[in-house]
């Protein structure tokens, strides 16, 4: 087996006139957790579908676990797990029946499929609901069962396509914890997401995807450094004091402070973090400006995206809608 769990070189995929992937390159080392980040329509799902043998590629080359996806799809299928955008489950069957069915289709045999189902129910905290119909499951429980189903063979590489889309915060946390547990066991994970904080939370590498190609590929911290250092942020009680506050912030900031009227907020990049914070806090107090909140924060991945593509993830989505 090669060093890379996933290798994509110049993948092209067209849907009619539309270029879904246009020279997609990616190298995911074994044991890594890669986040594939991008707005709707950037090509994330197409990339996952090609790598999981669901869709043929038009050009380029893809290897998963060192095996060519296009020529030996059956071999690839023995080594991967996929949890797609929907919880791909039979809702009439119980959780246990679902896992047993998929286990038998993975050719585990009746006994081993049953034993594996029990193991996974335990691991994903679904023992109590095991014999209830999936229909009665909450969104988070469905995703957990879906993850369990994708783990039946203990795959080398796990693909998660927007694993928390449509979940409430609680369900999201449930899924995040399940994913972290898998990662701790050394599974290589490629996950796609349009939630920037999700990539930040789970991934140790992030590839930013825009219009069918990877435009940045680095650690979350390095990506943040890419757009400059930390920022100081002040929220004032009275929006009328915003100009005065901006003037104070400007003294320590490395560029012109940005004023956000609706949030009554002033923020600006700073170099000497602690000195800037103490200076601003003291001056504002001396000047009698009432402060709601003051702090230093690292830039968000949203800002990274804006910096890299010239547009925010939201804008892209609005254009589509």
């Amino acid at each position: 087996m090669t060093e890379n769990a996933i290798l994509a070189a110049g993948i092209r995929k067209n849907y009619g006139e539309k270029r879904a992937l246009d020279g997609f390159d990616l190298a995911v080392p074994k044991g890594a957790v890669y986040g594939l980040l991008g707005p709707n329509g950037a090509g994330k799902t197409t990339a996952v579908r090609i790598l999981t043998t669901l869709v043929r590629l038009d050009g380029g080359r893809a290897e998963v676990a060192g095996i060519d996806v296009a020529t030996r799809p059956r071999q690839v299928r023995r080594r991967i797990g996929l949890a797609g955008q929907h919880a791909a489950l039979d809702e009439v069957l119980t959780g246990r029946q679902n896992l047993r069915m998929f286990g038998r289709l993975y050719h585990l045999g009746k006994k081993r499929a049953a034993a594996r189902a029990d193991e996974l129910l335990e691991r994903f905290d679904l023992v109590e609901a095991a014999d209830k119909g999936v229909k009665e499951y909450s969104g988070g429980m469905r995703r957990r069962l879906d993850l369990a189903a994708s783990m039946i063979l203990a795959p080398d590489i796990l693909f998660l396509d927007e694993p928390t889309t449509g979940l409430d915060p609680r369900g999201r946390n449930e899924v995040w914890e399940a994913v972290r547990a898998l990662v701790a066991q050394g599974t290589t994970v490629l996950l796609t997401t349009q939630y920037l904080d999700e990539a930040d939370q789970l991934a140790d590498h992030i590839a930013v995807l825009d219009r069918g190609r990877v435009i940045a590929d680095d650690t979350p911290d390095a990506l943040k450094r890419l757009i400059g250092g930390d920022r100081i942020e002040v929220v004032v009680r009275d929006p009328a004091t915003l100009p005065a506050t901006a003037a104070v912030v400007a003294r320590v900031a490395s560029t012109e402070p940005h004023i956000d009227e609706t949030a009554a907020r002033v923020h600006a990049p700073v170099t000497d973090r602690v000195a800037a914070l103490t200076e601003v806090a003291r001056t504002l107090q001396d000047d009698g400006i009432a402060v709601e909140d003051i702090g230093l924060r690292r830039p968000t991945l949203d800002e990274v995206f804006l910096r890299l593509t010239g547009h925010t993830a939201d804008e892209e989505e609005k254009k589509k809608a």
Binding site: L89, L93, L105
Partner: protein, 276 residues
């Protein structure tokens, strides 16, 4: 030379076949588990034919006549069996669209299972379900006085032809299930299934319809199966003197072959189209 290349290939082929059968059976079991977990589904599926029997047999029945004589209810029962088989493809479509909209089809396709099992399992499962449907309907028919005078062989042959029609329409069901976008659209396939089943000899002899409609009805595959099964059951068949009506038994075999020859390749192509 040949020995070198042949042995492993044969192994793989046999193994593949074994898994194709095993995976097919796993999918069949899944379908049967659905019936066990939702027994009310059988009642819903049979509700329509049973209500139709009551409606046609008792409400319209007195106004119905069978050309050439014979009891209308005797005439009606094979028609009801045929209608149920003809409309069964909607169940197939429904399950296919359910699986593809929920990503279950994609999960199957990303797994190392035999790709054919998704369809063969569907087919075998549907035939088992259709056999259960026919059994319940036959018992209902017996209860309201229908009898087969065709002997054991003739009766079995008639049921066999009915199942053959259901089998040949599985591929149409798979194809439509892959073409429609969602479950609601699958439900509206009723608008297709209803005239397909009704514009036939199932309830009224085609000779009593306007000429053009009668001709369509005569050539409807459902008519061939229904008329053939009437003849085999020894029920009044009200056969006209056109060639297609005179050769219902032959057509009841030919039509399913033709339907399979058309829709099986189309369904397979559509399934392969998923990976485009």
């Amino acid at each position: 030379m040949t020995a070198l290349t042949k042995t492993p290939a044969d192994e793989t082929l046999r193994e593949r076949f074994r898994w194709a059968v095993a995976d097919c059976w796993t999918i069949v079991l899944r379908g049967l588990t659905h019936y066990i977990r939702q027994p009310s589904n059988i009642a819903w599926q049979l509700g329509f034919p049973i209500v139709s029997v009551l409606l046609f047999g008792y409400v319209f029945g007195s106004a119905m006549s069978v050309p050439g004589g014979g009891d209308y209810r005797e005439f009606l029962m094979p028609g009801m069996f045929g209608m149920t088989m003809a409309m069964g493809f909607m169940n197939t479509s429904y399950v296919v669209v359910y699986d593809s909209t929920r990503g279950v089809t994609d999960r199957f396709r990303s797994m190392p299972m035999a790709p054919s099992a998704v369809v063969t399992g569907r087919g075998v499962g549907d035939l088992i379900a259709a056999t259960v449907d026919l059994t319940v309907l036959a018992l209902t028919a017996l209860a309201i006085g229908w009898r087969s005078s065709g002997g054991v062989l003739g009766t079995l042959a008639a049921f066999g032809l009915l199942l053959l029609l259901r089998f040949s329409l599985i591929w149409l069901g798979v194809l439509l299930g892959l073409l429609v976008p969602n479950e609601e659209a699958a439900g509206s396939l009723f608008a297709l299934a209803f005239p397909f089943a009704m514009i036939s000899s199932a309830f009224v002899a085609p000779s009593l319809m306007p000429d053009w409609l009668g001709t369509i009805a005569m050539w409807n595959p459902v008519s061939a199966t229904v008329t053939a099964s009437r003849e085999l059951f020894g029920n009044p068949a009200a056969v006209g003197d056109t060639w297609v009506e005179q050769n219902a038994l032959l057509m009841a075999v030919i039509w399913p072959i033709v339907l399979t020859a058309i829709f099986l390749p189309l369904a397979v192509r559509r399934y392969q189209h998923l990976s485009r």
